[in-house]
Symmetry: D2
Subunit: 363 residues, 4 copies
């Protein structure tokens, strides 16, 4: 256990925590406190992870429900896929709200965490800009509000570096004053995998620790602290050099593993290197055996995933080279992703909005 | 009194309220609850207005101290004059803080009111972006903080139209959580005069009514509501069509008044119209007599300033033409003005900052 | 004629030039070189003005075709009306292109004039940002281009104040290099009327004089200078204090004129002032007679519209108070208007785009 | 030679090309067509690389002069170091202009390449925004221009993806029209090393190939194409996953190499891993010997730097995982770097500007 802590690299995503756990200890199974269920809608992979207290201890994520949507809609800049992603998000969010006991008339507060001057950290503020806000109308002009809408407020509390105030204190003060029936918190996350950058949306009913993905421990925003349901929506937007390197080293190992397997196979297929334009996903099964790993990568190839990361981190950190990076196209990705999420939220909170309208509200 | 209310056009500036009062009732004098004192520093005119309870009743502004700085530094886009304006502002603000009992170690909260997506209303958010924030350093890394600094936080609560929450409620929640010793509130104001747009900075110890300049009545942010000193800093950034018209009509009257006076004078000077590049301020003394006014502007010329405004308002409002406007160069003006104000605040709150540094902190 | 020049106040809009002409000289008629034809589509008023050489001399606008769309879609922030306005604009632009001989395969260059750092002058750059650009695809990946599209390029040449280069020189250099079959130029204009700010779109086949609306004479961008059709699309976004005042004074006169008429009428209707929420347009017919005008506004009331403007200008200019202003909501107006215009251009240039798609391309 | 091409990974920096060359072929020396000279000013390392035709062939960079400034001023967000960096840049640029024959009165055109909507590619447009433009003053108001200034224009031609026009064609058209005596081109580059991101400024008299750093070959902007001196200023702002990984793998090797060396040494120093807060640069000398490399990294450890990159590239590219990334703090870095470069250019082009002024012009 101590060993594990030493080598563990935190992740904000339950689905990653669970994968890490399974990989490090293949004997652990679904029944030990973590239930995983997958689903596919068009191009979107939906993963449901339920963690109980036993599982929480094991994978280091709070007990609760986690829903992950995986889609290439943003990276491919495909507006049709994005509209579909927003719709699926809307459905999952509506369902999750019901599951935590939120009724259709209850009032919500949307909190967009992050710094709107740092593009990869601006997801929260961008989303609140596009959320359909109605609380003041219910309060001041109730006659103008149609059926199928509820009171919704939206705030962007800023970050401690620019306000001087702990984000959770700021949110706490606002919640006490606004007194909503439930809270939705949006935040940009750090990822443990290049693949997930701007490609994964995680919903959860476990709340959020502001700044936790970046290594800081701050006060929690959750049902426990506020006494009302807190739904979090997170998207990985940054990754560190350690992750990029260890992911890449893994790809190199799998690449050789597959090449060896294919060489042994009767009909010798072309290696990926010779088909540079055909994209073939490499899988866990492509990993070579221990002996092969050592041949390719020596001592380094013998390490487990977590050990590799830990070693790379120990080398890079003292050099000041463990940069946190984001894709070059970050501006467009943030714009599109915030549009998808705001559309999803608007649709989930206001059943009265027509599909097309949900889009235009969030322009 | 009722008559007066009917025709009164609100102003956020005490100096304007006092001028209106004097103009409408020339018998009223300095001693009736309003004390005015003027000063000049280089190109900056500083006006101190002190209002007691009697005066408050008379001019419709809260009892307290008002300091007005008038300068063309922003409009002329003169960086040297702007640096000087920031310095004078810093001195006046430091003095005002002392006067309300704030000591050098006490912690401050800077609140930037307004909507950062509406340029002429973005002064508050732009200022808080540039304020030197130190609270978190005092709390988390006290060893890094030098002598001559104090704990300062800064927040931008947004506006009701985009948050759904009353601004004063939002500020209330934050103040209760942050628990500062004093508050500085920055806001863009509506002006009653074209001249003052981006040319006047008003400091006051009377607090602020969010949105009051634009005609909405919301809850007050003041010593009375929060129990701690609240300093407000306001700058007029917008003006309505009624004001532009009535100011212009006044200029036309004065123009003729001066022409008549000059025609009668022995040495007949050139009229302003014939010297288009020589800027001559027209003053109250240029106003023609009653008969002349009627000749020039008929019945309209007979009305008092407030009556003219009231009439124009009655005509324009039902037509939907009483636009609130801002100068075409609003983007640059806001950028420069927010720089001046943030530099002034940084200098006043942190005596440890050198002059030049105060500038660079607020870049 | 000399008299007229002295008092004339330039306008970028042919429809205003024609109205001024008719008002100043009621004997002039439609047949004297200016043909006017009106049409209504839903809430949009479409005015076609055709000017021949005789008319050009008379109203001071170049000979050619002018199409004006008037709509409150932007000011009302009504997305449905805006979508409709874009559709009508698209149809009118398509027709105008045909009329000047542009065929469906010919290549176009869209030029967005203006300064993207000055919000009310940023219409051109905002539109080019949203135009669907295809030239490089036709050149480099012709296999990816579907039927119903043509080669389109888009440039934002900047303004002389920030480039140091005459805008027309810059455009000239680009056109010679790009060698398009036709050019569409977008520019923000100054208006002679509060009503038209962000409410009027003018199309014309007469080209454009960069900066002409603001009083500078620069080199023309037109068929004469480039030898290819040049379509201009202009929207009034700013107005000066002179215009606001003279418009308002006119409203005051009309207000009294109507009141007198209504007092004389048997069934005495409520005056507009007493119905502040009912918006009643005042028309030319509401103007009082000469005697009444003098009673209301004295000597000033006797002046013609152009004379009033000239007088106000003579008074304000030497004082430095003839501010060019824009509505407070300029940011939102520019965003929406650029969306409408880009959607209209995309639809007109690429018949292959579906209605809904034209919208999403310009997001 | 063919071998080399196959494995070569392009770099925009001559200093990197030269290092790669030396590393791959240690027998090659300074005399073979590439002269390198280093200098240190405060925290800034200045490297002069002169390439002749022989050297050009060898290292794959055009013959000419390259000056590289290395500084941590931007990454450390240290305004004092940044001011100093701008001053040194100014001096180097002034010298380079003299060397290519530019005299003090000659007119310059500053061209900011890149896309202002993609933050890591916005360096060029951000710089031109801050360059002191004077051409129009010399042309229209020569009486306002003081001694010590020259005519300078500045343009941002945009990128092909948003204009549809080849950048070099656009620049060509503008140069022919503006007719300057010399050109300065600013561009964001791709780096072959994490270390150099936002830490290196390269000046050169060899011109620029727009887009070349990102793998596209477009037409050159150089003395050869335009007949006038073309100075380029480039800063690496992005890096790909291949580079991050191969750099990191190298650090791991060096880390073990040093550990082994230190273990063998009599006084056994602490390993870097045990001193996480002391930053020790790892150098080429820390690389382990061949046997050790194989132990640590197997077959992979035996590859040369270029071979490692080539292999990683072959693995990542077909998977679509060779992301181009930029540091999370890209917004602030671009703002500060553009300020440094514009201040440097302003100082070099206008000797009349005082030191402090050069800063404020570029605000």
């Amino acid at each position: 256990m101590k060993e594990k802590d030493l080598y563990s690299v935190r992740t904000d995503l339950a689905v990653e925590a669970q994968e890490m756990d399974v990989r490090d200890d293949p004997s652990s199974s679904d029944s030990d406190g973590v239930k995983v269920h997958e689903n596919q809608k068009d191009d979107i992979k939906i993963t449901y992870v339920t963690v109980d207290e036993t599982g929480a201890e094991r994978i280091g994520k709070k007990a609760g429900h986690y829903i992950t949507l995986d889609s290439q809609a943003i990276r491919k800049q495909d507006t049709q896929l994005q509209a579909n992603l927003a719709k699926v998000l809307s459905g999952q969010l509506r369902k999750l709200l019901q599951d935590v006991g939120v009724t259709e008339e209850q009032s919500g507060l949307v909190v967009g965490l992050g710094n709107h001057h740092i593009t990869p950290d601006s997801l929260g503020p961008l989303v609140t800009d596009k959320v359909l806000v109605t609380s003041h109308l219910f309060r001041l002009h109730p006659e103008t509000v149609s059926e199928g809408y509820r009171p919704v407020s939206a705030v962007t509390p800023g970050v401690m570096g620019t306000t001087g105030v702990e984000t959770s204190d700021m949110v706490h003060g606002i919640i006490k004053e606004v007194n909503p029936d439930f809270v939705i918190v949006i935040d940009a996350l750090a990822s443990r995998s290049i693949d997930r950058i701007n490609a994964t949306i995680q919903l959860s009913d476990t709340g959020i620790h502001p700044g936790s993905g970046i290594g800081n421990k701050r006060k929690e925003i959750s049902k426990e602290t506020y006494g009302i349901p807190v739904i979090s929506i997170g998207v990985p937007t940054v990754v560190d050099a350690v992750t990029i390197t260890s992911d890449t080293v893994d790809y190199v190992l799998k690449h050789f593993g597959r090449e060896w397997r294919e060489k042994d196979a009767p009909s010798n297929a072309l290696s990926p290197a010779m088909n540079p334009f055909e994209r073939k996903e490499l899988t866990e099964e492509d990993l070579p055996n221990e002996e092969q790993s050592q041949a390719v990568l020596g001592m380094f190839g013998q390490l487990s995933g977590a050990e590799k990361k830990q070693l790379i981190k120990e080398v890079l950190t003292p050099l000041g080279h463990n940069l946190m990076v984001t894709p070059k196209e970050v501006d467009g990705f943030m714009k599109d992703m915030s549009h998808v999420i705001a559309t999803g939220i608007n649709g989930a909170l206001h059943p009265g909005i027509e599909d097309g309208e949900a889009q235009s509200y969030s322009r």
